[in-house]
Amino acid sequence: MKKIILYSIVSVFALASCQKNMTNLNIDTKNPSTAPSYALFSNAQKNLVDYITTPNVNSNIFTLIAQYWTEATYTDESNYNLGNRNIPQNFWNNLYVGALNNFQQAKLLIPNDVTDPAVAKNELEMADIMQVYTYYYLVNTFGNIPYSQANNINKYPFPAYDDAKTVYYDLLNRLDTCINGLNPSAGSFGSADLLYGGDVNSWIKFANSLKLKMAMLIADSDPTTAQKKVNEAINGGVFQSNADNAVFRYTGITPNANPVWVNLIQSNRKDYVITKTLLNPMVALNDPRRSAYYTNQYSGSDIGGTVGVTNTWNNYSNPYFSPITGTIVDPAAPSILLDYAEISFLQAEAVERNFIAGSAETFYNNGVTASIEEWGGSATDAATYLAQPSVAYATAPGGLGAGAIGSTGTNTSTTHWKQAIGLQQYIAYYMRGFDAWTSIRRLYYPAMAVPGSPKSPFPWRYTYPANEATANGPNYQAAKTAMGGDDVTIKLWWMQ
């Protein structure tokens, strides 16, 4: 009896410990250890677009910095307070982790999981174009950034920073390689490409248009290269109409709804009002896009908020309603990555800079018209608008900017074409805060108002994420030294 019990104790124990390989228990059976490259590519595209589209005050405040909106009650970010909500860190992490790393992983997997080498080649180029597009944001937001050692944690757990200018020229070169490498006769991602449904010709146009845009950024610092690249891009074929635009079409159902709708409408909050900086010129010019950009409160009149002070939401024009379908308050509103309007304005500028031949006015008119049509207006609306002397390219004056021009630290441009194109480009870039900010930093027009209680002067760049100082300390310190500091007032290399 005793022995039976004793043996049974021992055998129960022996039975229980008879696990074949305990390490197998540590394999996560609810998350896959392999994934198809196309699914990573799709998700990276969505992550990227979500981050550059969202007006969430915790991650993307470019609409506030570009002074399209100002905060109604909680005015920190409108006053350039980047620290309280770790804005630089959230932006940095979202792009490197959410977008770049997944594009990178897709590139690593494509050669293995796409059998047709021509298709694989196209897919690799597309993923690379997306990376160039993403780096364009990072390098022009921070300056020097990790690039050659980025997104390779096992080899570079502490990535060094590369010089911003070097990075930028490398991006331009990569874009050339991509354009040359795309093969229209072969397929690609198909529907997994959420921008163009895998259409290779569209991607060639997109890449050339991006090249044009990137070339124009260095028009002042390196006009020779800029001119060469602009011409190459145009010869390669840039956007010819709004139909060519790089558009991300949200489905309208969470989590695939437009983040603007999520933050403005779904949240029930009323955090933003339209600024005088945007509203005053639009009113003065009778802009037909006003009804798409904002609505007025019960007063019925257009009233712009003052940047960085408490603006009672009830009393000002605001972005919460729109009679125009498909605009920002629609959960299925599209998000624009690159459009015909900006390509037109950039070409108008290229004419003025003698980079290309042609009529600046025509390009300007094309840009204005494309933008109005993009926002639900008609060709007639555009024509009426352009017929006004205050809008017409030849006669458009400068100085119609914000109520409080100057004293921003901006050496506001006085060149006529910079003002005329700058203002229309600014209006057309509505909801694309980063592009507007970059355009302002490039053309110095329109002038930005001084916020009510600014934490700093107008930011020329973002400070580095707080986490870099601790998690990547020596490299951060080196970058800080190379940049001449880590303040928002430090100009990037291409700025005059």
Binding site: K2, T23, D28, S33, N43, V97, Q149, N467
Partner: protein, 1086 residues
């Protein structure tokens, strides 16, 4: 405990021959008060007969004249009586204040005499944690054990932080391991990371609270690794060893019935100003107008016609969107349209009417209710020749100070032993508990945490009682004061729901059914060998349901989280115990343990809102629901261990153990780790016969190592599947890079101690010095985002803890009718982060709203609070040329530390005849806490100090032109005292809050002195009881918990409150006030 002791002695004695000519001696064992000493052991000296007294103190034993009977019981001095011819004895035992002669339960349930205990272990009687009738017994340990830091959040049922001897691991748990009757008892918090980092959510409490406090016989706290090493990896944080009650001979029934009433502690809630109402300030006056104001001529009100109320000229309307109180000064003669003018609910006399501009009669403090809670318990035990059993049932119903909050617990436990033969015993216990929560408090920065509203964003003109009326009279509608745009008919909430709507509509509910038990076989093949085989299981199913009703500020939703947990332990333990010679005793043990854990959960939520009102099911989702989030975490740890103890004359003890674990969470080839412990003690008092005033004295020293494994799934990377986009699969890389090269985390610890007692144990102390160093910490470190990951798993760095623990006990007064016992526990821990990953100086543990973070910083105690600081000149705050403070722009200044400098408790117990009065003072000194509540609340002008008079005797909120404003205390850059007066009328937020002050201004000293427990009990005298058969005892008690915070430096809140259990402490957001509890309890024994 007494029964335990007697059982232990029985086992130690073994079997021997039986003398003839014995006869039955019976008797009764009483204490000095004439009360029976239940469970006292009676044995024949140099004989084999042994028995235990029943609940009435009665015993029977076979003995013969001339035998010496030895009577012993825990807390009593042993007494020897030489037997004559009497057959009926009356024995009185003398109570001993000190517990030094006690037998202590140590690892693996092995009992040891104090003399032979070579490491620090402190015992707390079960009564100590059950007498306060707190349904969470863990809270009852606070202040009672030196070196044990218990932190209790103020929210109902929130989880208790339990840390022994300091923080040892950066990102793994530092919570002490609970072991019940030899079996680990899960205490994992199911709170989300978001909840713990202040983003909102619920704290579902500590699972250790699933144990019936009335079933606890004793708690033994094994503080250091040497004491606990046999429990394996998890014991690195110390072990709280719980022994449940063992049945006694005869039948005993104990019934407890109690009721208690709570009330909020006013010193832990906001002190409001009652002079000014809604808005963020009218802005500056420019040429007689307020261009940045709200529209009215004075800038403080909206100004619009209200044709719906027949008003075609502009009217003064309160800006209901402005959740602050920097507005117009109250003036009963001023009539304004307030939120209630726009709320058309039955019985609203103010609909469509302007009302006087006055401070609310009922500020948010009137929101709290005085909850009544109940508890009832029945405990039955019994035993005979061949076995024992016990059966306990406890029901508690705890209500909170917020409306619609309740936690009900039902716990049933059963245990039995049976002697199959004289050397074979089988036994087992099974505990079933069912915990139901309803309306747990929302935490963090979230609209469902009403405290965010009350402490941070509020209008002083809003009357809580009116909000209550609006909610109930409207039939449960979200009629909020914080209307979006009432002028145009949009009365929906903009940021804040009606707080009654929050409590009655946006509530959570949860339940947990838990089964915990074991079955064992104990076999004693010879008198020196015992074999134990045991299988134990701890498993629960938990459901957590959360919701936001239609009409809420948040997107309405319903979510459910189903959690299943199971831990199986298979133990085999062989012990050997032999007296090698007259002076040497040798004990050895050999064991093996296999532990298998499974945690699985499925979380699902509606998407995009709810269709039908008041209906909460996933099917009620507006959009198709996204795939539920599944988790399956499995783990297996196999351990073998051995130990040996050599004792010389019950005076010198040398003890060594070694354990080897193999864990599935570590990479194969690197997953086994062996760790030793060696201890020695010398009970030197045995040599001090010439110093009779020394009753006890022992020194002890030990060294141990413990290894720890890795968290689940931290080796291999896996992808994350996201919701498909228009039919396309969406997959991303994870944001944490796992590490296939992880190795075990190690702790090395050293401890030495001295225990002494004097004057027949009337005074004694126990002093311990300890030092531990943890290295190869397995931590998720922050990575540069540029690597593509936010964090990665690595082994790195080290943390050291050293400190001292001191327990003092004494009986200053002891007479027949009166005694006074005092017990003091004190400990000081010096925690220091020695090194971090790759020579980094800082590791962020958690980043919080307010621009602050909790960190591990090299050279500092764990838990530095970082944010921006003032700029100092000669040690004083510097003001700029505008008269405002200058602030550092860096958010990495060290502005505080969450780790306390020392903790302590003083317990006093007075007994007069049948009355006992005891009280516990619990203290914490040092440590800081950052308050997001004052960070925002001071900027909003709701706190008293934001209004009132300035140094000139004028209202500080007057404009500077009208003699208002404040001169901030500080110096200018050249060191001169500041003389510039600055505005406090609320321009760009108030002067005192976050806009004009760095985070440092909201860091407070978290020290406190609390009257933690107060008990007055009365036992009916034995004479009275004898007439009340079958009742054997009635105890009546008045119990108080958290009655008084005697001293603290954090204004308006309880410094102990935080965001639940976890490594990142020192942050408050939407803190709930402390709750005083006073209760009445009656205990019947049958």
């Amino acid at each position: 405990m007494r029964k335990l002791l007697s059982l232990a002695i029985v086992l130690l004695l073994g079997v021997s021959q039986i003398f003839a000519q014995t006869h039955l001696v019976k008797g009764r064992i009483l204490d000095g008060d004439g009360k029976p000493v239940e469970g006292a052991t009676v044995q024949v000296k140099k004989g084999t007969a042994v028995t235990a007294a029943d609940a009435q103190g009665n015993f029977k034993i076979e003995a013969k004249p001339g035998d010496v009977l030895v009577f012993s019981a825990v807390n009593f001095a042993t007494k020897e009586v030489k037997l004559g011819n009497e057959t009926d004895l009356a024995v009185t035992l003398t109570r001993q204040s000190s517990q030094l002669d006690e037998v202590v339960v140590t690892a693996m349930g092995i009992k040891r005499s104090r003399n032979a205990l070579p490491y620090a272990a402190q015992e707390v009687g079960g009564d100590e944690v059950s007498k306060t009738r707190n349904s969470n017994f863990v809270d009852g340990l606070s202040g009672k054990v030196a070196g044990l830091q218990i932190t209790q959040p103020t929210a109902l049922g929130a989880s208790t932080n339990v840390v022994l001897r300091g923080i040892k691991s950066i990102s793994q748990t530092n919570q002490a391991l609970f072991v019940v009757d030899g079996v680990p008892f899960d205490n994992t918090s199911t709170a989300t990371v978001g909840q713990r980092s202040g983003q909102g959510g619920y704290d579902y409490g500590s699972n250790a609270a699933d144990l019936n406090p009335d079933d606890i016989e004793s708690i033994s706290v094994l503080k250091g690794a040497a004491a606990s090493a046999l429990y394996g990896s998890r014991a690195a944080n110390g072990v709280i060893l719980i022994t449940t009650k063992k049945a006694k001979r005869g039948l005993g029934i104990t019934v407890n019935a109690g009721v208690n009433v709570g009330s909020y502690d006013k010193s832990t809630f906001v002190k409001y100003q009652h002079e000014y109402g809604a808005n963020y300030g009218s802005g500056p006056e420019i040429n007689g107008a307020y261009p940045y104001g709200y529209g009215s001529p004075d800038g403080n009100f909206l100004y619009a016609p209200l044709p719906q109320f027949g008003q075609n000229t502009p009217q003064l309307i309160v800006p209901t969107t402005e959740d602050a109180s920097y507005g117009a000064k109250f003036n009963p003669n001023l009539l304004v349209y307030q939120w209630d003018a726009f709320a058309n609910y039955p019985g609203n006399p103010n609909y469509g009417k302007p009302t006087p501009w006055v401070a609310a009669k009922n500020d948010p403090s009137t929101f709290f209710v005085n909850p009544v809670s109940y508890n009832t318990s029945v405990f039955i035990d019994g035993g005979g020749e061949n076995g024992t059993f016990k059966l306990g049932y406890l029901r508690t119903s705890d209500n909170g100070i917020l409306p619609n909050s309740n936690i009900t617990k039902n716990m049933l436990n059963f245990g039995a032993t049976h002697n199959l033969s004289k050397d074979l015993t089988v036994g087992g216990t099974i505990n079933y508990s069912e915990i139901s929560g309803l309306g747990r408090y929302g935490t963090g920065y979230e609209s469902n945490n009403v405290m965010t509203n009350f402490r941070q964003w509020w209008e002083m003109n809003v009357d809580i009682k009116q909000q209550k009326q609006a909610y109930f009279n409207s039939g449960g509608q979200n009629v909020t004061w914080n209307m979006t745009d009432p002028i145009n008919g949009n009365t929906k909430p903009i940021y804040w729901d009606n707080v009654y709507f929050v409590r009655y509509q946006n509530y959570e509910n949860d339940s947990r059914q838990r089964i915990f038990g074991n079955a064992y076989i104990n076999y004693t093949p010879s008198k020196s060998i015992t074999l134990l085989g045991r299988v134990s299981m701890d498993t629960y199913n938990s459901l957590q349901e959360e919701r936001d009703a239609i009409g809420s500020v948040n997107v309405p939703f319903y979510s459910r989280n189903n959690i299943f947990y199971k831990e199986m332990n298979y133990d085999f333990l062989a012990t050997y115990n032999k007296d090698l010679s007259k002076n040497f005793n040798f004990k050895a043990l050999l064991g093996a343990n296999l532990r298998q854990d499974t945690y699985s959960s499925i979380f699902a939520s509606t998407n995009g809102g709810l269709n039908l009102p008041n209906f909460y099911a996933l099917s009620n989702s507006v959009n198709p629901i996204n795939a539920p989030n599944e988790a399956l975490l499995e783990k297996e740890v196999g351990g073998v261990f051995a130990g040996a103890t050599l004792t010389y004359k019950d005076m010198l003890t040398l003890d060594g153990t070694v354990r080897r674990d193999q864990s599935s969470t570590l990479p194969a080839g690197n997953n086994a780790y062996t760790y030793p412990a060696i201890s020695g003690s010398w009970a030197f008092y045995k040599l001090l016969d010439n110093a009779p005033w020394i009753s006890f004295g022992k020194v002890r020293v030990n060294y141990a190592e413990v290894g720890n494994d890795a968290p689940y799934h931290s080796i291999l990377n896996t992808y994350v599947i996201n919701t498909p986009f228009a039919g396309n699969a969406m997959v991303t890389l994870p944001t944490t890079n796992n590490n296939p090269n992880l190795k075990p985390e190690r702790t090395k610890s050293f401890e030495t101690g001295l225990e002494m007692s004097f004057l027949k144990n009337r005074v004694g102390f126990d002093f311990t010095y300890f030092a531990s160093k943890t290295f190869d910490l397995i931590t998720q470190v922050n990575a540069s985002g540029a690597t593509g990951y936010l964090s990665q798993y690595v082994n790195f760095g080290s943390i050291q803890n050293n400190g001292i623990e001191l327990s003092l006990n004494g009986t200053p007064i002891k007479t027949r009718n009166f005694s006074w016992d005092i017990n003091v526990n004190w400990s000081k821990i010096n925690n220091k982060v020695l090194s971090l990953f790759n020579n980094q100086q800082n590791q962020v543990l958690a980043s919080y709203q307010g621009g602050v973070s909790i960190n591990a910083t090299v050279g500092q105690p764990f838990g530095t609070i970082q944010g921006n600081d003032f700029i100092y000149t000669n040690g004083q705050r510097t003001v700029g040329s505008d008269g405002y403070y200058l602030m550092d722009t860096k958010t990495t200044d060290i502005i505080g530390n969450a780790t306390p400098k020392w903790t302590g408790g003083i317990n006093n117990s007075f007994r007069y005849k049948s009355f006992t009065l005891s009280f516990l003072i619990d203290m914490r000194h040092g440590g800081n806490v950052f308050s997001l509540d004052t960070y925002y609340g001071l900027a909003d002008g709701i706190y008293a100090e934001t209004a009132g008079l300035n140094d000139l005797g004028n209202p500080s909120r007057n404009s500077l032109a009208n003699g208002g404003g404040i001169i901030l205390k500080g110096v200018t850059a050249d060191g001169k005292t500041n003389t510039i007066r600055v505005d406090n009328s609320g321009q760009g937020y108030g002067l005192y809050g976050y806009v004009y002050n760095p985070a440092r201004a909201f860091v407070y000293d978290a020290s406190f002195v609390k009257l933690r427990e107060l008990n007055i009990s009365y036992s009916l005298p034995a004479k009275t009881i004898e007439r009340m058969k079958p009742v054997k005892g009635i105890d009546i008690a008045i119990v108080g918990r958290n009655l008084w915070i005697i001293s603290k430096n954090l204004p308006y809140a309880d410094p102990e409150d935080g965001l639940g259990a976890g490594n990142a402490q020192g942050y408050q957001s939407g803190s709930y006030p402390a709750v005083r509890n006073i209760g009445f309890n009656v205990k019947f024994k049958f």
